[in-house]
Amino acid sequence: MKAEVLGRGIRVGMNGNSAVAYAVKQADVDVVAAYPITPQTIMVERLAEYVNNGELNAAFIPVESEHSALSTCVGASLAGARVFTATASQGLALMYEILWIAAGLRTTIVMALGNRAFSPNINIHCSHDDAYAARDAGWIQFFAENVQEAYDLVLQAFRISEDKDVLFPSIVNLDGFILTHSLEALNVLKDEEVKEFLPPKDPVNPIDPDNPMTYGPLDLQDYYIEHRRQQAEHFKASYPKIVKILNEYSEFTGRKYSPVKTYALEDADIGIMILGSSAGTVRYTVDRLREKGMKVGVVSLTLYRPFPIEDIKKVVKGVKVLAIMDRSYSFGSPGAQLYMDVSTALYNLRERPLLFNVIYGLGGRDLTPEHVELIARRAEEVAREGEVKETQIWVGVRE
């Protein structure tokens, strides 16, 4: 695979943190409330610089904790502002209760998550623990595979969250250090082009003294489940609009965005499914394995929530064995998080691939092409034997 200059924009070199901050600046955000945590600190510092240098007309609120960060964002979003925050790992865990409130009150907050492992032991490197921890709360979730995607997805996230057919907050995940701190080449749009794609926020039911409403009342047994059901149906119903906006951006920039990405999967017997930056390593290895005659392909998800069930069902048709890679672990579960999502989505199909789960990369442990080949060979073995003897394996661990 050779690197290509893709689509609309000016070629620059930035690390993931800077690219996200740049996108937020171009989005003309109104309020930023964030607490620094490795590996997201540069994002927050960049935004403080933009504001203090007069390049971004926003309120930068240096909150005293992540819990206050998201609480402040909820208030700001309800007041009608375009809001951004960012965190990772322990910070996400600290703001956890507010995640549900932010989604239930239909705020339009955009959050960048510099994916980092949960303690213990304290580790500042990449796992997807924090991304997965948020998955039930009702936020739209994207995974960026490279710095270009991080930049593009932040812009799309603002547009999607604030859309009147959506109105849910969203998270853009980018791998800690691997993307946040790595310098990559990307195309950034001109300010006017961003303004064209992303007009200022037109809030729904904002706080208005002339139209006083009560936000966040108490529900007894007689209303709670109806409120939740409404939120559930609306979240599901937002899917087509999300896809529509991804398509619109794809046309606008010439860079393709869709919920599910596949590579060499059309005639594949073996599939490897993965989220985040390691998809690149998998594709690189798949090219080499293809040269050796293996019919193997890759599935990666750009949209993780709402989970693209139908798209996944479509792309895995004909695949005999699917290895699902998780950069996290769920103690005592039948499989790690993405594995559970996929196996549930595919369970009722008459014809579906055999599945097994691969735990990799925790705490920043590198995923190498050798690991990927090992996974592919194992999948071949499963295909030959016609059964999955071990549903979960770990790669890259000193046994």
């Binding site: 239930g104 009150l105 239909r106 109105l167 729904v204 039911n205 006083p212 409403m213 009560t214 936000y215 966040g216 009342p217 529900d219 209303y223 109806e226 409120h227 059901r229 409404q230 149906e233 609306h234």
Partner: protein
């Protein structure tokens, strides 16, 4: 008042777009004791009006007051603060 039944009818975002709708909930049924105001004793100091928690005491144009029995919970604060004992608490029927 809109008694939303189906989840489809509920206002979006758990919001309540009906300011002051608690007025539809008549807490007067809570009372065990009931305040009786003797207007001829009243000196219009308005201490009862300012101290009523509900509020269940309406301040009239001329600064006399009127008790709103729809909401009065019978706490007796009004009778207690009245400097001239113009309010008496009696048993509710």
């Amino acid at each position: 008042m809109a008694k939303w039944r189906s989840w489809k009818e509920l206002p979006i975002a758990n919001i309540l777009p009906t300011p002051g709708s608690s007025a539809e909930y008549k807490t007067g049924s809570w009372r065990a004791l009931k305040p009786i105001l003797y207007k001829d004793k009243c000196i219009r100091c308005l201490l009862c009006w300012v101290s009523c928690p509900e509020p269940a005491i309406d301040r009239l144009e001329d600064d006399y007051v009127e008790i709103d029995y729809d909401y009065c919970k019978g706490c007796g604060i009004c009778a207690n603060v009245c400097p001239v004992k113009a309010i008496e608490m009696v048993m509710e029927e």
